[in-house]
Symmetry: D2
């Protein structure tokens, strides 16, 4: 069984290296998570445990893939930002994409029981993903602003929608009430009908989750058994605005320009 | 928070549609499975349960993704063949790749306990993947022959290697003994030293696993409660030679030419 | 002036190799040839000399690039077919495309005076181009049928249009008369108004030009001065139907399947 | 002859749009210009008229393609820089590349006689080309530095080589003399053997040609016949250093950052 006569088929593999010196963003999305959240009776509009699980998976991916400097998540999606100089797998698109999607998925199933001790996982969930290249810091910031604005818009809508449904409206009625409303209308609706001040809703729901790495000192024993201080990077989860400059000024280690 | 001013960032997404009318092969590989198999004490050279788990995951992927007409697996890798006319996700590469890798991974973790009831999964495993386009039937068959020849060569080597190690040799000694040996030498070594006839080793180990879909009749009740016969496609697992013409002649439904 | 510190910029060049074992079609089109044909007072609907010049350029390209097995031209466009096994420039897309477009353009300007001895070239014309990969013989034949059907449709329209204009109608009037007409209407119009039998119009105008290579014997002197017979390939220009099977059956050397 | 049944073949055309917001560099190279320069007896090491012709072609391309903001040429190659925001042909790679290569080639043949009145063009020359995307201003500047450093290194070598050959050495002898020499050795050789001060050689040969656009005022008559002042951009040819900051500081209109 001569393997060599068949090896020519490797020539059909394409070189899919991404362009050097661009920001790489990998965004993954839950497949069919509408159905998945129903089957697992996620709380609406936001299920704290489901979001914590998503965040934990992202944290694990970020810890394993050193070149990820920032991640942003909301709902059933997560975006991972690889630094511009990243040479992971020689920047081969399929390799980077498949690895990150697989790691995230694997953790999601593996960690499920830690977050939903009382709920059996009914069937294996899955995610799809894509990679996008952004040449400039401004492009990257605008990408992240796009996702956070999306989070805000969806969460405000969903907060109203589920408040209406929980108050007895049908889903169709809730949709009709909200059709064509502005943000200000929705804030007013929450306030007047449900006595909810939208700004008091947890920031995780309103702003999503931002994961960054921070270098910390920790004590350990060296080879001679003497206590020494070493540095390591740990992932920190924030729920803050990343559209304005403030966040970027506070994180100069990200090395992203501040739009003035 | 105007989302629209950021939406231009979608223009950076590339159209990665694959060429129509080509066979699409998605091959996934276990990441760091050498370490993973050690941590989970897989039997060597072949762990029956680990292979059965791989096969079950592939079966599930194949059932969910209708356009997969054939899959071939060995060791910690699996290849999925999408039919030429496949228009899944408009043939977008990243979408197809990430979906299949994620589905496979998810099932692997989810189904672990069904195959390893006595072994806790120590950490979440992951897979990477790639897509290759093959224009002709011959190219596709040569690809599959390449993988099956690879299976044979590796399995024969591993069978010898682990027989030597189990008999008391160190791994280095086993490597030295096998260096430069031909297939015939390895068959002879198995026979003379261990009284093993390589051809009696289970075909799953020697040939890998071939998954095809077969249409079967099944009885069910129609809307009026009357018993009727319907057809459905079920996945069948075979451990047969796919290099020679025989298999392809026996599966005309695959619509792949027989090399004469 | 150290060149080496800048050489990293070569890493930004992408590998743009096309998939092996696919038919490669390079189609070039005149840029702004409506204006070009007016400035050079091309005869309407077909300028014999302009088409002969196009054909001569294609012949030269085909002679220089050995892997081109067939070319098809009509109006200001030309398609070149590279054989499936072609490894020209390692199948790098930009290299193949730019070379063929440049060769064609260069010949067009260089040979102009041989075809238009009485007309000075007013300004340098240019062409753009693209490469498309076709996996199967049927796909390739359908591509060529598409171009020849296009030739027929355009030429029938243009023949009517210019007959009307030459008879005294304005261009707008001619357009209005032809709007919504079928092929049969146009044939009838030519016959009844202008006594033109469309089928008697030269085949070059109705079917375009097909270039193939034919091996011929020729006499030459060998190194010892003795007359010997050698073989060489010369380009032949045909004006025939390439949609039906007949042409393909008559050219088995093209090695393209005959659709049955 | 139904065209529509064949039109599906357009689906095989790929979307080859380049990433937004990157510098696009198109570099074209003469094909077989060693032989071409011999057949046309170009002066060695530099043929003034041949370089002037190259520059004129580049100027014409730059005038026609508005998005080109800078071009750099040396020997038989030219690089064209399209501005980052360029949306020419929706940034489709094949369209941009083929258009620029074709325009350059066409002008070369068309203008030949204006530069070589006494030399008939023996055969049509051709060029190939490629497009490279550069994300940052520094990457672009390093690309241009790479080409200008290449120009310097080649020209210094060629100046020595041809001085030796013109003095009676064979080409092989000249190669042997120059093998392994440093820049300083070559400068010294020119000085001591031929009394040539390399720095007195025309800057066009030592630095290549830089084309930029400059906005000028010009007088014209408006629709009422009154003399008015309008602005237009004209191409200027410079032979200056573009590696250091000086050039870039003097051309703020290029909007490229100055490395500090």
């Amino acid at each position: 069984m001569a393997k060599s006569k068949y090896e020519y088929v490797k020539q059909f593999e394409r070189d899919d290296s991404l362009i050097p010196n661009t920001w790489l963003v990998i965004r993954i999305d839950g497949r069919g998570f509408h159905k998945f959240s129903e089957r697992h009776q996620f709380e609406k509009p936001n299920d704290r445990r489901a979001l914590d699980l998503m965040n934990k998976c992202a944290e694990t991916v970020m810890t394993e893939i050193h070149d990820i400097i920032l991640a942003y998540g909301q709902s059933d999606e997560y975006s991972f930002v690889l630094k511009k100089e990243c040479d992971l797998y020689c920047r081969r698109e399929a390799k980077i994409l498949s690895t990150i999607v697989s790691l995230f998925t694997s953790n999601y199933v593996f960690l499920w029981k830690s977050y939903f001790a009382d709920k059996e996982l009914q069937y294996p969930p899955s995610f799809d993903g894509r990679i996008v290249q952004y040449p400039s810091d401004n492009n990257l910031r605008d990408y992240l602003s796009w996702r956070q604005a999306d989070c805000h818009i969806n969460n405000l809508y969903n907060t109203c929608f589920w408040a209406l449904v929980h108050s007895g409206k049908t889903e169709t009625e809730a949709e009709n009430i909200l059709r064509g409303t502005l943000s200000s209308d929705k804030n007013e609706l929450l306030h007047s009908l449900f006595n909810i001040n939208y700004n008091n809703i947890p920031e995780m729901y309103r702003k999503g989750s931002v994961l960054v790495k921070q270098e910390i000192d920790f004590k350990t024993l060296n080879q001679k058994g003497v206590e020494v201080i070493r540095k390591k990077k740990i992932v920190t989860i924030l729920h803050v605005d990343i559209i304005q400059n403030k966040f970027w000024k506070e994180h100069p280690e990200l090395n992203i320009i501040t739009i003035t």
